[in-house]
């Protein structure tokens, strides 16, 4: 994801002339000024066998082997575990996935054994601008100032399932669904969560912080496909508007502290007990508008704390088709 920052009215890219990632540089500079150790992104070791997300396009697939061409132009050959499952709109056998499909693979054993494959998966998150159509519904979404507008189609066969969880399918309300990309158009097939009852521009205010700032906050973590293919990182709602050039930031129904693009967020998947330090790489203004819960394992408190890239979500043990996991985030 290309991110521009602005300070004193000037825009900058997050890479300097030496090719050093500026988000990384910020961590080094902050650590130097405050005299603390530089923390590094990556998984916590105590979470069991690390998972690796591999994304790319299928070159060849058989019942036992899948070969994908990654974003870096590298050919990855993965053994398909006997218990592996795949999703391409519906659950399918891995060998039935079409060649050329864009896949994200959850892999074990240093990324050599595929156990879960999602093909052509996409997520449509935003505020509804318009809904048209009688059988297939055409929905236009405002996905936030960075992501612009997006048109999605809800096929007739999925409208019942989506309307159950999204009863207010009308302009001004929030929409979040998971589906497949079909010839460049997103087809919504599954509701990602239940629709928040509030309109997109009426986010409840966070409760007062009676006990001062909390070091750990529980809520929900989701994913978005508005990241580069293999990017590890997260979008975070509470970044200063001027820092992130994001006019819709600083909105959340959770009492989150201010962090910056480049800060590290410690995210724990409460359901799988996997945790990782994930860098904040984008403004999560759209995630901040969702004051909803995740019921992946128990019922989480309200509010989206982080919107992860697909690779980070998968490596934390998340299931892309479920859309969220109960999360605990910390900092410092």
């Amino acid at each position: 994801m290309r991110i521009l920052l602005s300070s004193a009215g000037k825009g900058r890219e997050l890479c300097d002339a030496r090719g050093v990632n500026s988000t990384e540089r910020r961590r080094i500079l902050a650590a130097a000024a405050l005299g603390r150790d530089t923390r590094h992104p990556g998984p916590d070791p105590e979470g069991g066998e690390p998972l690796r997300a591999v994304s790319g396009q299928i070159i060849d697939v058989s019942p036992h082997l899948i070969i994908v061409d990654t974003e870096q132009g590298v050919e990855e050959r993965l053994v398909i575990a006997p218990w592996a499952t795949a999703w391409h709109g519906v659950d399918v056998a891995p060998a039935d996935l079409p060649l050329g499909a864009a896949v994200i693979i959850r892999a074990l054993r240093d990324g050599k054994v595929a156990e879960r494959i999602w093909a052509d998966i996409t997520r449509m998150t935003g505020a509804i601008l318009s809904v048209e159509g009688r059988r297939d519904l055409h929905v236009e979404l405002d996905c936030g100032p960075h992501r612009g507008r997006r048109g999605v189609v809800i096929p007739y066969r999925a409208t019942g399932r989506i309307r159950v969880r999204y009863p207010q399918l009308e302009p001004g309300y929030l929409f979040d669904a998971i589906g497949v990309r079909d010839q460049g158009v997103g087809q919504a097939l599954l509701p990602a969560t239940s629709q928040p009852g509030h309109p997109a521009r009426a986010v409840p205010t966070p409760p007062p912080a009676y006990g001062g700032a909390q070091q750990r906050i529980n809520g929900t973590a989701t994913w978005s496909d508005a990241f580069d293919c293999d990017e590890r990182g997260t979008a975070y709602p509470m970044v200063e508007r001027s820092d992130a050039a994001c006019p819709d930031a600083e909105v959340s129904c959770v009492g989150l502290p201010y962090l910056a693009i480049g800060s590290l967020l410690h995210i724990r998947n409460v359901c799988t007990e996997r945790a990782a330090n994930v860098p904040i790489v984008a403004c999560g203004c759209m995630a901040g508008r969702f004051c909803d819960r995740c019921v992946e394992c128990g019922t989480s408190p309200r509010g989206r704390l982080a919107e992860l890239s697909p690779s980070s979500f998968v490596e934390l043990g998340g299931e892309l088709t479920k859309g969220c996991f109960n999360a605990r985030v910390g900092w410092g």
Binding site: L5, S7, A8, R12, R18, V20, S22, R26, I28, L29, A30, A31, A32, A33, L34, G35, R36, D37, T38, G172, H198, P199, R201, A202, V203, T205, P206, P208, A209, Y210, G212, A213, M238, E240, S242, D243, D248, E250, V251, G255, L256, P257, Y258, L259, A260, I261, G262, S263, W331, G332
Partner: protein, 259 residues
């Protein structure tokens, strides 16, 4: 005695005007107006104009009460508060979650018996003032103070203000302007002792993390000079470090602290 409540009415109407306009102007929190009455009783696009109309009406009434004894303004004030009582009753019935919005965003607590009683008392005060012989603020007396005390008891906004002061959001959750942080930095002793070595007085990067704001400058040797300013206090802690351009780990050459 009849004119004793005019000053209270004028001040409250002006306060109401200012608070409502401020709420409309600083609609920084999108959707704030959807939780405030009577804006919630009108369709979305009309909410802002409704609040502005209400504020302007209050200002006109306050000006009229201040400078003239003309009955139109006095009966207008009675009608305004009587109508407000009806609107609050309606609001409580239709949107029990919405605040009265009487003083803008501060009046965000759901409408209760106290808010309604207050508008009833204000209607009574306005009715009493209809026959006041003089306009404006000239009738201040002990009766005025008694009126203020009654209104204070009936004002949920005071509880809200006390709660906000007692339970102020921690520094990590409070917005802080970048320019204010830069001003604090430039007022510090750390800045004065290192400013001469910098290429420019304007930072080339700045970001906020929790209660710290960082400013990065380049020095004459081409290295990065980073200042960290704590965001609370009049004379906040300022830390600084010099990091070589090619350093890939934290290697502060020195750290200075000023308080």
């Amino acid at each position: 005695m009849l004119e004793s409540q005019l000053p209270v009415l004028i001040v409250l109407l002006v306060l109401g005007t200012v608070a409502k306009l401020a709420t409309v102007h600083t609609d920084a929190e999108p959707g704030a107006l959807t939780r405030l009455g009577p804006a919630v009783l009108v369709p979305g696009p009309l909410r802002k104009p409704a609040l502005v109309c209400c504020a302007v009406g209050e200002l006109v009434l306050a000006a009229g009460l201040l400078v003239t004894t003309y009955p139109l303004f006095r009966w207008g004030t009675v009608a305004f508060f009587a109508l407000s009582t009806y609107v609050l009753l309606e609001l409580r019935r239709r949107r029990p979650d919405a605040g009265c919005g009487c003083f803008g965003e501060v009046s965000s607590a759901p409408v209760g018996v106290r808010s309604i009683s207050r508008t009833v008392v204000l209607t009574g005060m306005a009715l009493m003032s209809v026959w006041a012989p003089v306009p404006g603020m000239s009738g201040i007396s002990w009766w005025t103070l008694a009126g203020v005390a009654v209104l204070a008891v009936l004002s949920p906004e005071l509880d809200e203000a006390v709660a906000r002061i007692r339970h102020r959001a921690p520094c990590e959750q409070r917005p802080a302007l970048e320019s204010a942080g830069l001003a604090k930095l430039k007022a510090s002793a750390t800045w004065r002792s290192h400013a001469d070595g910098l290429l420019s007085a304007e930072p080339y990067d700045s970001w906020r993390e929790l209660c710290w704001r960082f400013f990065v400058f380049r020095d004459r040797g081409g290295d990065d000079v980073v200042f960290a300013v704590y965001l609370t206090g009049r004379h906040p802690v300022v830390r600084m470090a010099v990091v070589g351009r090619d350093d890939t780990d934290s290697m502060p050459e020195y750290t200075a602290v000023s308080a």
